[in-house]
């Protein structure tokens, strides 16, 4: 907690030097937080981040607008169902513009890649890496600090955007969110941060591996496009090829369906989509196929927050694990690399 506070003060200090001068100026700081501060400042001042931020803002406002236009149709006629109307701000769309969650799913990777693709290799090419590493600090500070800094920037941005949508929505529709809706939105924002963190780490991994920033950017974008465009096509191909032809009974159909779903879930974007849909649409009861026996007797009501969380827990674990794998790989690679000047 104290560290987080220190960090917060550090960032505030960097962004606004005139404020709260005095005591901080004579205090020594841990080198790790010095690097984090510098990286955050670099991101905030960079054109790249500001362009991405602008893009996110535009899509955010655009999707909010379409949601407002179509939210009237989304109000369920049956008042007995809890409608979770507020959450619909994030999910409904009239078809002209995608909904907010679709936008995040699509642009999140771009954001992560944009902040991470030149993390290490540009420092190496500029010759600053060997200079920084000849200062008294551990080598992994550089890598960790870059990750933490980008994550902080992303978190602040997502929370800001998320609360912006909520606030505007509140003004526009005039119905306050229930506590459950609020927590669902917080979980959604955290999920989005996890998802972007995965892409960020993948980009950092490539930036450690490849010497040229252009190569690592292209490699990351290639992975992104593969997962967002081609992966589902390939899975569809596999699905048709392996479809059971003879003796089609319910069991084999079900297992085939599950197999296809497992394949699809290898893609982080699929994990993210399923998890966010579950969080923002409480009426989603299961992510796999349900048999008639399972549905029989179920009350058609939305799931409580705890149950929704339980449903997406494997997805969250998967996303975090993928992030960890990327980070671990880049960590090992970075520690083993020899740091030469240029």
């Amino acid at each position: 907690m104290s560290k987080a506070w220190e960090l917060f003060r550090g960032i505030a200090g960097r962004l606004d030097r005139s404020a709260a001068a005095g005591q901080r100026d004579t205090k020594q700081q841990h080198p790790f937080w010095v690097i984090v501060q510098k990286e955050v400042a670099d991101h905030v001042h960079s054109w790249r981040f500001n362009i991405l931020l602008l893009l996110m803002m535009l899509t955010c406002i655009g999707s909010l607008y379409t949601a407002m236009m179509s939210i009237r149709d989304a109000v369920p006629a049956d008042e007995s169902l809890k409608s979770f109307l507020f959450l619909k701000l994030f999910t409904v769309s009239d078809g002209t513009l995608p909904a907010f969650i679709t936008f995040i799913g699509f642009l999140g990777p771009l954001l992560g890649i944009g902040l991470g693709f030149d993390a290490i290799n540009s420092e190496r090419n500029k010759g600053t890496l060997s200079r920084v590493l000849s200062q008294p600090l551990h080598r992994d500070y550089v890598l960790n600090a870059k990750f933490v800094a980008a994550l902080i920037v992303i978190s602040v941005m997502f929370f800001a955007l998320g609360f912006l949508v909520m606030g505007l929505g509140l003004l526009a529709i005039g119905i306050p969110p229930t506590p459950e809706e609020f927590w669902r939105m917080i979980v959604f924002l955290l999920l989005a941060i996890c998802y972007v963190a995965f892409w960020l780490n993948l980009a950092i991994l490539f930036s450690v591996r490849f010497r040229q920033p252009a190569t690592s950017a292209l490699a990351s974008i290639a992975v992104w496009i593969f997962f967002s465009v081609f992966f589902s096509m390939i899975v569809k191909l596999i699905a048709t090829a392996t479809f059971p032809k003879e003796a089609v009974d319910a069991g084999s159909l079900l297992s085939h369906q599950q197999f296809v779903q497992y394949l699809l879930r290898l893609s982080p974007s699929q994990l993210f989509t399923e998890a966010t849909t579950t969080m923002l649409t409480p009426s989603v009861r299961s992510l796999g196929p349900l048999t008639m026996e399972q549905i029989y007797g179920a009350i058609p009501s939305p799931l409580p927050l705890g149950q929704s969380l339980l449903l997406i827990w494997p997805h969250v674990t998967g996303l975090v694990a993928a992030t960890m794998v990327c980070f671990g790989l880049s960590y090992v690679m970075f520690m083993r690399q020899e740091i030469r000047s240029r």
């Binding site: 100026d25 200079r131 008294p136 020899e338 000047s341």
Partner: protein, 314 residues
């Protein structure tokens, strides 16, 4: 009193089959300027990286300020400043900001850092440029900023890897003088790697000749030349007109002269001892005009050249 500050013992670094540094043993004393001299790819940079703990030696040990660099690199890096060749700065930050960043990485507070940075910028002559972006700096300015960057942690030892590469001659002269002054005023030990012989010759107290990962010879310039040229310690260069074969014959017969090389009117007389007087008398007595006569001091140039000649032949 000589107090060793850098001690390398039997240091070896291999990259697969290739041996970059081969059993290097070297001691640098406190307060001296030591020149590590060698061609590109001799293993100078690798040695320096091992001193800072940025590369791990295959075998052998490195002690800097009495601390094992391989095991406690952080402690070493607190006392050693390293200026890499072609040092890089964050180009969208000013020179001052770059310095402040380094200072704060070294655990200085902002106030302390600013104080020290201003002083150092003054010292390296970058006061006017301090608030300009580092991206606009010229090569020479970058190198001077690099020196300030190294000094901001108030090191005991500074290691400079090819510090004069790509600077114009006047800039080199100023830069070397700056280093010399620093070493003298603050008692900082300087280890300088270079392949520019004349520059090393100008400021270094001692020089190590480093080729193919091995230290060929070390000592001051004078003792180096003695070590390497024990067979023919003296060369006398002279210009005579006319340089007749008879005269050259006579020169060859002087006691102590081992051989004479002729290039038009210019003669190079290799001798075992100093026989300058005899040579000049011989030339004048044989009615030739003596235009020029000097005893050639072996510079590093010759030392260097001689080594490669020797290696080419073997």
């Amino acid at each position: 009193m000589k107090q060793p500050i850098i001690e390398l013992t039997d240091l070896t670094k291999r990259y697969g089959e290739h041996t970059a540094v081969d059993g290097l043993t070297l001691t640098v004393n406190r307060g001296e300027i030591f020149g590590l001299l060698g061609p590109n790819g001799a293993g100078k940079s690798t040695t320096i990286l091992m001193m800072l703990g940025l590369a791990e030696p295959t075998s052998g040990s490195v002690f800097v300020c009495g601390i094992n660099s391989t095991r406690q690199p952080i402690l070493v890096k607190r006392k050693v400043g390293y200026l890499p060749d072609d040092v890089g700065f964050y180009e969208d930050m000013t020179g001052l900001e770059n310095l402040l960043y380094t200072a704060r990485l070294n655990g200085l507070s902002r106030v302390q850092a600013e104080e020290r940075a201003e002083k150092l910028l003054e010292r390296v002559g970058l006061r006017e440029a301090a608030r300009k972006k580092a991206g606009t700096y010229s090569r020479g300015m970058r190198q001077r900023l690099g020196l300030a960057d190294v000094l901001i942690k108030q090191p005991e030892v500074i290691i400079l890897d090819e510090p004069t590469l790509g600077i114009d001659p006047e800039g080199v002269r100023e830069f070397l003088q700056l280093i010399q002054a620093l070493s003298r005023d603050e008692g900082i030990t300087v280890l300088l790697s270079s392949h520019h012989l004349h520059q090393v010759q100008q400021i270094c107290d001692r020089v190590g000749l480093f080729v193919g990962g091995r230290m060929l010879a070390e000592g001051d310039i004078h003792s180096l030349s003695r070590q390497l040229f024990s067979k023919e310690p003296v060369v006398i260069e002279t210009q005579v007109s006319p340089a007749s074969p008879a005269l050259i014959d006579k020169l060859r017969q002087i006691d102590g002269v081992s051989r004479v090389e002729q290039d038009g009117e210019k003669l190079a007389v290799h001798c075992l001892k100093d026989v300058t007087a005899v040579i000049s008398r011989t030339i004048v007595e044989s009615d030739a005009a003596l235009l020029h006569l000097t005893q050639k001091e072996y510079g590093l140039d010759e030392i260097y050249h001689r080594y490669f000649e020797g290696r080419g032949a073997s």
